[in-house]
Amino acid sequence: MKVTGKAHRYGDHVDTDAIIPARYLNTTDPDELASHCMEDIDVDFVRKVQSGDMIVAGRNFGCGSSREHAPLAIKAAGVSCVIAASYARIFYRNALNIGLPIVEQPEAVAAIADGDELEVDFAGGVIRDLTSGAQWRFSALSGPAAELIEAGGLVNLTRKKLASRE
């Protein structure tokens, strides 16, 4: 699978309150959540983002609360992939579970500029910056994370597990 889109750049420690402020947690509707995505650190994000675009951020992306509303909001906003230097662990698991593609690649993050046109090739494990011509490799997931992607997310995986118990 390949995705292409424009980079939206953010710094280190983008927390889940920034991704989706708690005042909007009185709903679980992904589209409503998406309409407030990144609001407290970038009021223009929702207006700027186009389907396929990518969030490119520094260290510890998604730190803070466990709210799954955060990756849900990002996914429903049309973001095709998040590329960060590193992730907070609950966000990382949540993204895998709900099927929001995420890549950890600090060198790419250091080089990509806001607005660059990017291509991420998941099967090949390559990020290409179509604007600058640079490219970086990233390694495939292993262990339970790979199993999860293979099964098409946690819902499918758990459904199979429960069915096999009956």
Binding site: D17, L25, R59, N60, C63, R67
Partner: protein, 421 residues
């Protein structure tokens, strides 16, 4: 001779049914408790059904707590709480806690004896790491995983490497668990323990009462930690023995267990800490704070809403008045704590000092209700996060501190220590 393990490794090995684990290994653990709250449970419940879930794996081992937006703050929140309440009834769950009987999840679960030493617990709330104070392994997950775990009773983990924080010596006046953890986060940063177990040890930690231990483990997530943990001893035994209705096991790290890094703090170096906006790592000693005028002071949350915390605030507020320019909000962490505070006369002290005392709720801690900040306002709070917009408007500011500092600041109208009153 089996290989030495840390307490975190032992807890995971025990629950995975294996003799030995080491960092980096994947394990599947049987869960002793799965938790969700009124914000995370609705998604967990929807996912539970989409996964083909019919009955929770064990109604005794699932806890649902209405604490974030309760008493219902608006119609949408009311719908979410109702979904959780209906699910708890349908699944005949004995551990659903509504207003009037419960309180903040991380305070009531230990108080009601639902988490015990040796347990492995997950919760759809990042501060689930609080229960490490009991010698349990506990960590936060998202709603989908909580939903899956409600159905299956198990979850996978990658065994974390451990960091050890050794604190020795005696603490100065007005310094407690909150200051130890803010100091630690100030030293290592908000991702300094990312994916790691944070184990706290040393003579200072061993002499701490339960309330301070819960506060320390509560904020492990604020350094990126997977779990916080303190080896249980006599203090934990005394706390759980009257509350436990099932057997428990007190584990501790072996001599020779491996740590990725060991940090040593001298308790005497730790002043009361204040974490400046907008990250918990921006911690400074109270003597370094300077002049910060505040509009609001909040004492409460899963970090510092325990009876000991209220007593500490009351000691400072007794016979004093909150500054006319400050709104001081006190939120007991549970119905039981609220009642005890009434009986001890603490609530009277608060009311006489000009504080507003609320029924238990997370409320302002996450900027939900009961004390939301306007643009440009500053608050000192005993909560655990000071991210942009955490307590309200994105242009407001939150300073984190312990209850005595928050109470003294409420009186002075600016951030200060009780010694300066």
């Amino acid at each position: 001779m089996p290989e030495a393990m840390t307490i975190t490794e032992k807890l995971l090995a025990r629950s995975a049914g294996v003799d030995h684990v080491k960092p980096g290994e994947f394990v599947t653990c049987k869960l002793d408790l799965v938790l969700a709250n009124d914000i995370t449970a609705p998604i967990a419940i929807d996912q539970f059904y989409s996964m083909g879930g019919k009955h929770v794996f064990d109604p005794e081992k699932v806890a649902l707590v209405a604490d974030h937006s309760t008493p219902n703050k608006d119609i949408k929140s009311a719908q979410m709480v109702k979904q959780m309440r209906d699910f708890a009834r349908e699944q005949q769950m004995p551990h659903f806690y509504d207003i009037g009987c419960g309180g903040i999840e991380h305070i009531i679960l230990p108080d009601f004896g639902l988490v015990l030493p040796g347990d492995v617990v997950i919760g759809a709330d990042s501060h689930t790491c609080t229960y490490g104070a009991l010698g349990a392994f506990s960590t936060g997950v998202g709603s989908s995983e909580a939903g899956a775990a409600m159905a299956t009773g198990e979850i996978w983990f990658r065994v974390p490497a451990s960091l050890k924080f050794v604190v020795d010596g005696s603490l100065s006046q007005w310094v407690g668990g909150k200051d130890i953890i803010l100091y630690t986060i100030g030293k290592i940063g908000v991702d300094g323990a990312r994916y790691r177990a944070m184990e706290f040890a040393g003579s200072t930690i061993e002499s701490l009462p339960m309330a301070d231990r819960f506060t320390i483990c509560n904020m492990a997530i604020e350094a990126g930690g997977k779990n916080g943990v303190i080896a249980p001893g006599a203090t934990v035994e005394e706390f759980v023995s009257s509350r436990a209705s099932r057997p428990y096991e007190m584990l501790s790290s072996d001599d020779g267990a491996e740590y990725e890094e060991v940090f040593e703090w001298n308790a005497a170096d730790i002043e009361p800490q204040v974490s400046f906006p907008h990250l918990p790592e921006n911690a400074r000693g109270i003597s370094e704070v300077g002049e910060i005028v505040i509009d609001q002071a909040v004492v409460g949350a899963c970090t510092n809403g325990r009876l000991e915390d209220l007593r500490s605030a009351a000691e400072v507020l007794k016979g004093r008045r909150v500054a006319p320019s400050v709104r001081c909000i006190i939120i007991p962490g549970s119905q039981q704590i609220h009642l005890a505070a009434v009986r001890e006369g603490i609530v009277e002290t608060f009311l006489e000092a000009g504080c507003a005392v609320s029924t238990p709720t997370c409320g302002p801690c996450l900027g939900g209700h009961m004390g939301v900040l306007a643009a440009g306002e500053k608050a000192i709070a005993t909560t655990n996060r000071n991210f942009v917009g955490r307590m309200g408007h994105p242009d407001s500011e939150v300073y984190l501190a312990n209850p005595a500092i928050a109470a003294a600041s409420a009186v002075a109208g600016k951030i200060c220590s009780p010694d300066e009153l």
